[in-house]
Symmetry: C2
Subunit: 356 residues, 2 copies
């Protein structure tokens, strides 16, 4: 069987620091479970690349990447060098859309050794999977300006929800929920205020739910859902949301679990027609970049999700166990400053790799 082809793109800022630690763990797991990998490195999709070439990606980026099974991605963005909407739309958001990575999975768990900002929670009390629509919705990029530069100036942007786009991510979310003990799916909506696209979303949720009778489901408006998540996070299991709502929830949920530094994500093209992309939820954090302060766990957990998607659940489980072991304060393992420790990105990465 041919080796899995992995494209590595560290991107900007702390992406450059956490990706090597992710790779260290990937290599440890590949050795332990005898998984053949072929790894290639790319320097595009970074603001420095943009400053040298005038674009975030080479012309033939699709051809260069399309034969890979997975992209192991760091983070992109450095607003002082390139405006965010240019750097992001020129790279990460292109990948998600052009490679049709329509399911974005973002687990968030209160692990032992993490301190939730919420009072009185035990490890395990938060155990969420956010399923985010990843190719359309509020991120459509369709729209423009009128009367620019005059007092009548206006900007318009279209939210686009297609039946194909909505149904496929909903089916995936129901399937994810069906695999979990609680089998509960919550839909994030805002159909009381956003009066056209969101009622459509609700309509499709009802239709798709009928095909998944084994899953219980409910829905909350996004405002009430954010409130409820800080009041009773225990009540939620899988949450599915549009591109924007999934984005918001998948930052809020890990924050409730103690740090954004450990949150992973999988941008999946379930049909495997194109590479899927694995990246931490956190961004490039220019403010702390280059100082060894970044928590590498989000990147490492993303590696675990990659192994799972490639069909190696044991490698996934071993990495997640190693993460849990290192996070457990009784292990005495090194911790980065966001977790109250003083260890470096490298120290923590090394500890997880050794545990694997």
């Amino acid at each position: 069987k041919r080796p899995w082809r992995i494209a590595v793109i560290p991107g900007d800022g702390i992406g450059q620091e956490v990706v090597p630690q992710g790779l260290r763990v990937i290599e440890a797991a590949a050795t332990r479970f005898d998984i053949a990998l072929q790894i290639e490195h790319f320097d595009f999709a970074s603001c420095d690349y943009y400053l040298r070439h005038g674009s975030m990606l080479p012309e033939d980026w699709k051809e260069q990447l399309d034969g890979f099974d997975a992209i192991f991605f760091g983070a992109v963005g450095w607003p002082e060098k390139v405006p965010d909407h240019i750097s992001l739309w020129g790279s990460l958001l292109q990948f998600r859309r052009e490679f049709d990575q329509y399911v974005n999975l973002r687990p968030a768990r209160l692990m032992p050794g993490l301190r939730s900002p919420l009072a009185g929670l035990q490890p395990g009390d938060i155990d969420l999977l956010i399923v985010r629509e990843n190719t359309e919705g509020e991120y459509s990029n369709a729209g423009g300006r009128l009367f620019a530069g005059t007092p009548r100036e206006m900007a318009m942007q279209e939210t686009v929800m297609t039946r194909v786009g909505v149904d496929r991510v909903l089916h995936d979310a129901f399937n994810q929920a069906a695999r979990r003990p609680r089998k509960l799916l919550t839909s994030a909506t805002k159909s009381n205020g956003i009066s056209i696209t969101m009622p459509y979303w609700d309509e499709r949720v009802r239709a798709v739910a009928a095909e998944h009778p084994q899953v219980r489901w409910n829905q909350f408006h996004i405002d009430a859902l954010c409130a409820r998540l800080v009041q009773r996070p225990q009540e939620f299991d899988v949450i599915v949301g549009s591109n924007l709502f999934g984005d918001i929830l998948s930052d809020l949920a890990p924050a409730l679990c103690g740090t954004l530094g450990i949150a992973p994500s999988a941008n999946l093209n379930p049909e495997r027609l194109h590479p899927s992309l694995f990246e931490p939820v956190h961004g490039s954090a220019p403010d702390i970049a280059g100082r060894g302060l970044a928590n590498p766990i989000g990147q490492i957990w993303s590696a675990a999700l990659m192994f799972d998607f490639l069909g190696h659940p044991k490698a996934h489980d071993a990495i997640v166990q190693a993460i849990e072991g290192v996070l457990d304060p009784r292990s005495g393992a090194p911790r980065t400053p966001d977790l109250g420790g003083s260890a470096s990105t490298q120290d923590m990465g090394r500890a997880v790799a050794q545990a694997v």
Copy 2:
């Protein structure tokens, strides 16, 4: 001087229960500060009205209401009777837009006697004012469906940001910040993902900020902002956001202050060409309606905001002090179940009215 004309619209669900308590406090404050009021009651803008008349409002609602100085509003919506987007767009969202109530002020404060779900916070640690754009943005209502009923079906909705609409609420937000001790304004954005309207919002923030040099300002993407609010709510003072982002933040912030039941809001037409509207942030809560369980403080605090807007800051301050006194557990005053007590809506309303 003529009496202030107040239109009272209780609406649906617990709106029917909390509005009478708000009125009780309004009357107490009017008596104490010798403020002449002329109060009229309206039964439209409720789902029961809709079931009787086939629309949420009478044809001439604008003429009926336009001479009032203020609308004292409860809550609207009862999805089992009327779909939310019909009841809300047929009433509250109409009022906001047609009466050009473009500034929505939503204070959130961790008051003595409230228990934040966040660990380790003291009263006063959260002291936020959310300023929400209230007439355009994501709530434009412009859009539609294509290929309905076929597999190619899609729904589209336009976010619309005008220079007039954005600038006026930003100016108001900077002015609000200038009046507060910390003089800090945070702009909620998402210009890295929502690539047309949100960069426009950022551009106007920079332009308007230049006219308010006495205010410090910063900006966060909405995902990071929700995360930061649960991690370090102390860092924020005034936050300005689009219609949707303001909506989300103004549910999250009061949830962090212990309960949505006390959060008030003022929907202002600052030019006073049309009535302004004062309502609690919470909804009609059909699940608990009719049982005397609702916390009336959100409604009562909204009455305080109304007096402030009408030019009676002393009445405002007296009501807020009365609220703080009743919430303080040392007062022994009755508390509704959301605050851990077993008092009724009426008991709590009576206690505040007496304190005023």
